[in-house]
Amino acid sequence: MTVTPFSRSSFLAGFRAIVPLWLGIAPFAAAYAVTARAGGLNIFETSWMSLSVFAGAAQFAAAGLFGQGASPLSIIATTAVLNVRHVLYGLSLAQKVKVTWPQRLMAAQFLTDEAYGVAINAPGLNYAYLLGAELSLYAVWNVFTLLGSLLGSLVPDPGALGVGIVFPLAFLGLLTPHLSSRIPLVVALVSGLIAWSLSRIVPGGLVVLLTGILGALFGAWLSTRGTKT
């Protein structure tokens, strides 16, 4: 792995790979903004959270907690719990793409579930592609956060629109190329079962983290079983 020069075409390829997901992201960004405004944040604070924190589930949770008058520490702790899974994404990406220090800071700031998913599946992944995918999501998330906080109550409820289905469909699309043999298929099924059980007792971000770890441990055990190390 060597650091490759920044390629415009890779950046655009990454950017385009996220475009089908805009349909789901835009209404959720707007709905987040409406929730945050209802929770008592002003337009600047609502947009600042999208620009800095940039993490969908955590932002929704925080918006709700602000509305309930929760303590700052509990809001920050909830955010941490929901976002620890990014450690796993970073570890996974670090095996496939070599980046310099400034690039790492950029790649970290804009990392999301969706960008990770698209990037980890990209053949010949490089930094430009990763950043393209990340900024594609960042752009639409922030534009629609601003629109949502300006238009307020005119924003339709994503639940009523049914656009949330876009996310499981996208991850299904990212999962299927991995299921070419028996072990990955078994790992996917077992992970699904683990996630389903955990989702009844712990919050979403933690479900992803714990399932991510347990499922991958199971896969590593299955595939290295019997080989001497």
Binding site: M49, G90, V118, L169, S199, T211
Partner: protein, 96 residues
């Protein structure tokens, strides 16, 4: 002021998590942990799909949409077709 400090704290914990994994690129891993990282996308994607469908009140419609999307993905190998096709089926099922 409290709100802005809270937002800064949220940013700090999120950024730290994102940076931590990416910073461990020089780690030389034994085969078991390399295999572990290869399975991370699979287990994570499953975790992002299943609770979303199973925890939803209209899960049968979502399940059908996913089945159609899976068939389309298998035929076309294109992410966009899976999303568009699955969404169209789900949307149609919601109208009946």
């Amino acid at each position: 002021m409290t709100v802005l400090l809270t937002l800064l704290g949220m940013w700090a914990v999120t950024f730290a998590a994102r940076l931590a994994g990416l910073s461990l690129h020089r780690l030389v891993l034994p085969p078991f942990w390399l295999a572990f990282l290869r399975f991370v996308p699979i287990s994570v994607f499953a975790a992002l799909i299943v609770p979303d469908i199973a925890g939803s009140p209209d899960w049968p419609k979502k399940l059908i949409a996913c089945a159609v999307a899976a068939a389309l993905l298998w035929r076309t190998k294109a992410l966009a077709w899976g999303i568009v096709g699955g969404f169209a089926v789900y949307w149609a099922l919601r109208q009946v």
